[in-house]
């Protein structure tokens, strides 16, 4: 490999594309050549960087300086100042407002270890980083039962929401005799504030594919589908390209590595419905139906897609698998806690200095995640609340900042971890407003199948709208709670069971705000 003095990582995402990143990269390279630095400086177009800046964003390594909103007009200055003279251009730097310098813990990363480091569109770079070694091992040196046992031993839990142990799930499907089995990857990601799966797929599509392959081998599936939301155009393009590359390299297809094992991976897209993230609704959608959930049992693992046994896993869940197979369960258990092993990918949003993407050991406190990885509060703002887990999540107050972020610890706040969204609110923002927006979301996304959710979501929205306008009473607030509770107990799927979480946590932690805004 060639040795470069510096790497410039250019994050390629929708926002960057909108800002004309293609032209930008060409100009940047020209300028670097003009400056005579072409041999010293490597420009790398990559997936998501560790932070969400506006427009075109760059990370310059090894000094780890982050720039956002860089324009073509800035290129000359950037090359002159930073690359030639070594003086960062402060006016373009992202973290000038941060209280803490965020951590870039590459050594503690599993899922994102390649993200922002390698070119996601190149299978060679993935292979160069040790990619597909786990697949080869799983296919040639392990029996399906060994794979299932290894994943079981790793303690890996599903990252799609409920935290169900992945190995256990596989172990239900693996022994079934069926003429066909499927792996379905849940990449529908609709939870507001959540887009870690998008970033995983954009940043390292091959890692997901490798996870899928191992799962398919473990359960005996010859076909896998990635169900991905229609809006994720870049993911779709990258995954399609990655699948093609795999076929070209004989990593997918018939008789892979002469093992006698066949596997293909297809991409299926959604058309805009949050409920299709629910695994049975997703299967309905895959079959070309309305996305109404199905009753369980039978579970998809027994009767799923077209009534065949189907393992449905989240993107992040599967992206953990290559590491486990390659390094073993024991190594994996070095991460996280005993009950919740491994790491978790979060998207930190809102009023933090460094909104961004991070991967942290399970069990880190919310405070740690916000302060160390989000750079703390934005200068001049005070922490008020965090919406953890998206619309189906809970609103935590500053008294709960020390909660451990894992499936078990969050239970004490009836909260869920799965989606990995952390939306931080400052002291000026209204909890009632936030709740209004959440309940509007549920009203819009109820599939309408079952009465409690279909009608309940409308009442919740009407009530919170009334309260928000100052026209409600505390009786209305109580009614809000009663309806949401009935929905929790009687709704057909987890969507209708969810609004109680935001409502109850808002009332528990911020009741004063409701008292203040309601009529006496």
């Amino acid at each position: 490999m060639k040795y470069y003095r510096s790497h410039i990582l250019v994050g390629i995402n929708e926002a960057a594309k909108q800002a004309g990143v293609d032209v930008f990269v060409n100009k940047l390279q020209d300028q670097i050549s003009t400056a005579g630095l072409a041999d010293e400086i490597n420009v790398l177009e990559t997936g998501p960087l560790a932070f969400f800046g506006r427009g075109i964003c760059l990370t310059i390594l090894p000094e780890n300086v982050n720039y956002e909103n860089v324009a073509i007009e800035d290129i000359v200055e950037l090359v002159e100042e930073h690359l030639l003279k070594g003086r960062p251009v402060h006016r373009l730097m992202l973290d000038s407002a941060a209280q803490f310098k965020p951590k870039f813990n590459y050594d503690r990363r599993i899922v994102l270890k390649n993200s922002g480091i390698i070119d996601p569109e190149s299978i060679d770079e993935y292979l160069g980083a040790g990619g597909y070694e786990a697949w080869e091992k799983a296919l040639l040196n392990m029996q399906p039962a060994d794979i299932v046992n290894e994943v079981k031993a790793s303690g890996l839990r599903g990252r799609g929401g409920a935290g169900f142990p992945a190995g256990l799930k596989w172990s239900f499907t693996a022994p079934l005799n069926a003429e066909q089995k499927y792996v379905v990857v849940n990449a529908d990601e609709g939870e507001p504030g959540t887009f870690k799966d998008r970033l995983i797929m954009e940043g390292d599509p091959h890692q997901l594919l490798e996870g899928i392959m191992i799962c398919a081998r473990a359960i005996g599936a010859s076909m896998a589908y990635i169900y991905i939301r229609g809006e994720y155009k870049l993911c779709i393009a990258r995954l399609e390209k990655a699948i093609k590359q795999c076929h070209a390299y004989g990593i997918l297809g018939r008789n892979i590595f002469d093992s006698g094992f066949d596997l293909d991976i297809g991409i299926k897209i959604g058309a805009g419905a949050y409920v299709c993230g629910e695994e049975t609704a997703l299967i309905e959608s895959l079959e070309g139906n309305r996305g109404n959930p199905r009753w369980k049992p039978p579970f998809p693992g027994v009767k799923g897609l077209w009534q065949y046994p189907t393992v449905v896993n989240n993107v992040e869940t599967l992206a953990n698998v290559p590491f486990i197979i390659k390094n073993g369960a024991a190594e994996y258990r070095q991460f996280g806690t005993d009950e919740c092993t491994g790491t978790k990918v979060y998207t930190i949003l809102g009023d933090v200095a460094y909104p961004g993407l991070c991967e942290v050991d399970m069990g880190a406190t919310l405070r740690t995640v916000i302060n160390e990885y989000g750079g703390g509060m934005k200068k001049g703002f005070k922490f008020k609340a965090a919406l953890v887990g998206g619309a189906a999540g809970v609103i935590l107050s500053d008294r709960m900042l020390d909660v451990k972020m894992d499936f078990v610890s969050l239970n004490q706040y009836a909260a869920v971890l799965g989606s990995g969204a952390i939306l931080v609110m400052n002291e000026h923002q209204s909890i009632v407003d936030m709740l209004w927006s959440i309940l509007r979301f549920f009203r819009h996304e109820s599939c309408g199948k079952c009465s409690p959710c279909r009608i309940g979501t409308q009442h919740l929205y009407d009530l919170i709208s009334k309260i928000r306008k100052g026209e409600g009473s505390m009786d209305d607030v109580e009614m809000l709670h009663t309806i949401a509770l009935t929905m929790k107990q009687t709704s057909f799927c987890a969507l209708g069971q969810s609004p109680i979480m935001a409502i109850a946590s808002a009332l528990d932690n911020f009741r004063d705000e409701f008292i203040a805004i309601t009529k006496k």
Binding site: W295, S446, K449, S451, I483, T490
Partner: protein, 594 residues
Amino acid sequence: MIKKVNIWLDGKHLEVPETMTIIEAADKYNVNIPRLCYHPDLPPTANCGVCVVEVAGNPTPKRACCTPVAEGMKIVTNSKLLRSYRKTLVEMILSHHDVVCPTCSANNKCELQTLANNMGVDPDTLPNIMHKAPIDATSPSIVRDVNKCIACGRCVTVCNDVQTVYALTFSDRGIESQITSAFGSGMANSACVNCGQCTVYCPTGALRENSDIDAVWDAVLDPLKHVIVQEAPAIRVSLAEEFGMELGTITVKKMYAALRKIGFDAVMDTNFTADLTILEEGTECVNKLKSGSKRPLITSCSPGWIKFMETYYPDLADCVSTAKSPMSMFGVLSKTYYAQEQNIDPANIVSVAIMPCIAKKFEARRPEMRDSGFQDTDYVLTTRELLRMIKEAGIDLKYVKEEDADETMSFYTGAGTIFGTTGGVMEAAIRSAYTLVTGEELEEIDITAVRGLEGVKEATIPVPGFGDLHVAVAHGLSNARLVMDRIREGLNTTGESPWHFVEIMACPGGCVGGGGQPYGNNMAMRARRGEGLYHEDRNLPIRKSHHNPEIKRIYERFLGEPNSPLAHRLLHTHYFKRSVNNGQVIEEATHKHH
């Protein structure tokens, strides 16, 4: 053998088959679990949430209608919490509902109303959030009032899975979701075949017949009109249950009396033309058999089936008997033969039919059904509408004194009466066709192979001089599909149909389970009604259509002989090809050549 499991239902230990759901187990042991969307004839949609019960070991309640029992399961069906959830739930349902019970067609029959009453629910707890949508009354048969729909999904299951018509779907989502035909076209512009099964299974007043009660009252009260009435076979066995008499009791003479009390000028009987149908259809069948045609003859008196055939199997239209239904034969004769016999100007005759069927409303308005020079049948009332009229007139059928029908067009045989149940037309036809072919009388006339509620029934009857007669009977349109697909396949491959003669009725159970029958019925009740008809058949003095003296008389005095030119002109019809998208006529499928 199905394995049994031990469960504890409200503390009571039971052993039940492992294939049961909790609600099935509870129903079997008379433990009442409230429910709205569940119906024992249909797979659960599990939409309403009212049936929730506590199952030990689960943090949230489970739906009883779709949760299978399991070994060791401990179930609590009633608790303070469950009651409060259910109550809030019913309040929520009522808050998105146009609550106008007194004027609702489902009043007193409505499962939602009953549940709300039983639970003591206050409809004013929550603000009503119903945005009233227009009522769809485009179809002559069916009215759809989404303001009364609770989205239980039964109608969609029935229409799509039981009847395979695919006229209804859920559209949109969330609070906006509703049942509809595609693009909100209205039922008249959909594939709906008017079988009315959705109206029977709808727990509320959201789907009902397009009512003709007012028009019939107007006619009855108009002194210038001569209003005559016919009643289909299935009616006589479906009234008793509404007046506290045993289900399946035959109340034919009380029915005649009630109709006179309502004010009809002449009370006759569709069973008479059912016998006539046997002669027309039977003759057609025998001619076909004798000609050596390999195409089967399929019965034609179910208008739901006829529209279905025109929509999905127009290529086989020439296999379907050209005989009109008994109702339409009656209609055309009422304004020709009857008018002539009684010396009444047919223009003053109002011909009313009481049918178990809502498709008959559509049939009556088909342009072909005007061979008398007028609309042959003016109004069709369903069993439900008749019941409403009887109640409106303040009549209690239980205490009405029996009366006979008028003399003309009312005498009937056992063959005519069993038309009302699946297999009945086939059985009646065989009784006469046998004689038409062999010239001899069939001795064993109870043809049990075609009785009962199996979806497709087959039988082989040895007919001397002809050989084996292969017949099939299907009821419910998904079963009709099975039969029609086999016929189509047979004709397209070997050129032969598996059967010579086929009976198809649109409604599961036949007309006793018709779309106009009293609410709250299920397959078990349909079977009881069918048995009622077989019971009447056994007790009638004459049990074969060709022995009906009135039938002989009408041929002698008016029609000539079966399939005569006049019979063809008045009693036969032809068919069209219809669009699967909107049910509209595309072109003729068979033609009428005169």
